[in-house]
Amino acid sequence: MSEPPISRGFRGRGGGNRNARVPPGQHLVEDFPVLSAGPTPPVDLANWRFGLDDGETPLAEWTWAQFQALPQTDLTVDIHCVTTWSKLDTVWRGVSIDTLLEAAGLSEPPAPFVLVHCDGGYTTNMPAEDLLDGKAMVAWEYDGEPLDPEHGGPARLLVPHLYFWKSAKWVQRLQFVDPQVPGFWEENGYHIYGDPWREQRYDGD
């Protein structure tokens, strides 16, 4: 449709949300809303594992202590949820995917796509290159505190340049695959890639 209808009497909040850092269709929030499809899994650091797989072949796995011993990265980024909220300057600490690949002895991803697996069965997908060059991490600290379970603690994937459902909570494994395999929301009508700046919310956007 070329000309959207004017909603009589709607003025909106005005300029505050027309920030150049806010993608189209998004609005700023100060709080940190929680969205999950099912129960929050209980935290169990003693049995926590994070691994990388090439297809069905395990490449590397870390315990919580081993993961904590890896070089840590701090990242301050804007995040954008497909439900239309954005939050600026969120502060995270974790281990970059670059560091994890290096620690696994890999100079590059073994396959061009990634299927992310989480506690509770949640999955999501993205091209492997979207996780490289400092663009993504496995985050375990938010705003200087251990990540709350309802926000994905002990650790979640952080891929801030894609809609936030890609930043999977309670992450356990990155599986490198070819061809691409759609994850949970991607199988349920959401966009296969999910770039907020191109407003790729739903399949077909």
Binding site: I6, R11, G12, R13, L35, G38, Q180, G189, Y202, D203
Partner: protein
């Protein structure tokens, strides 16, 4: 599981014009808008839409709202006015019959109930979290006797006060054989109130819900603390996590 051509070439969900046909005051802060959407493709119970408002100067704001109506009927949205809610204050306050805005959808293929999901239905709602669950109850009510007999439903619905109960009269009429409606109030105990008067807790879930061996389909919608607590309690009571579907909304207070 691999990407099919169909999913890569799916048509973009187009923005459609919705015209307000009727406004129903549900509570002091909640209204239902009955909409006329000529191109509406139909939906399933539990799905939502994105709403986009456009101001005269071209400014736009967009939010997601659950669909309240059963599949097949006229599209209805029930919206709670949130403090400082840019879009909700318009939909639940300003909008009048004849006003127009855009929406697209339906969206969401997960928090959905249809009659082909076998087993009893256990619905847990807090506040305006009742909306997608009401679509499920309305849909179930429209089905045949065989479905109703084999798929009994229980709704546990937490409201702050009796005046905050959304759809109260209709819920009374839906209750009956196969449908149990349990209200709990968290901020008052009015004279003559026979329902519960505390926050949803594990004992309440165990008493009102189906036992785990019956494999009930569980849908929980409401503010984050209620959803977190109820989903965790139900898992601890022995319900399989994969049968517990949740939808959260609203500010977290953090």
């Amino acid at each position: 599981m691999t990407v099919t051509d169909a999913s890569l070439t799916a048509p973009k969900k187009a923005w459609m014009v919705a015209t307000v046909r009727e406004v129903i005051d549900e509570t002091p802060r909640v209204r239902t808008l009955v909409l006329d959407v000529p191109d509406w493709p139909g939906h399933r119970a539990g799905q939502h839409v994105d709403v986009r408002l456009t101001a005269e100067d071209g400014y736009q704001a967009q939010r997601s709202y659950s669909i309240a109506s059963a599949p097949g009927g006229r599209l209805m949205l029930t919206v709670e006015m949130l403090p400082d809610g840019e879009v909700s204050s318009y939909l639940a306050g300003e909008a009048r019959v004849g006003d127009t805005f855009e929406l697209r959808g339906p969206i969401g293929g997960y928090f959905v109930w249809s009659e082909d999901l076998e087993g009893p239905i256990y619905l847990v709602a807090g506040g305006s979290g009742i909306v997608p669950l009401m679509a499920m109850l309305r849909h179930r009510d429209s089905l045949g006797a065989a479905v109703k007999a084999s798929q009994p439903a229980v709704l546990l619905y937490s409201s702050r006060t009796a005046a905050d109960i959304i759809y109260r009269a209709e819920l009374d009429t839906l209750a009956g054989p196969g449908v149990t409606i349990v209200h709990t109030l968290t901020r008052e105990k009015p004279a003559g109130w026979t329902g519960l008067t505390r926050r949803i807790d594990s004992a309440m879930l165990a008493e009102t819900g189906f036992t785990p061996d019956l494999n009930p389909r569980i849908f929980i919608c409401g503010p984050t603390p209620l959803v977190e607590s109820a989903a965790g309690s139900l898992r601890d009571l022995g319900h399989a996590a994969k049968l517990i579907k949740t939808e959260r909304f609203g500010p977290t207070g953090k």
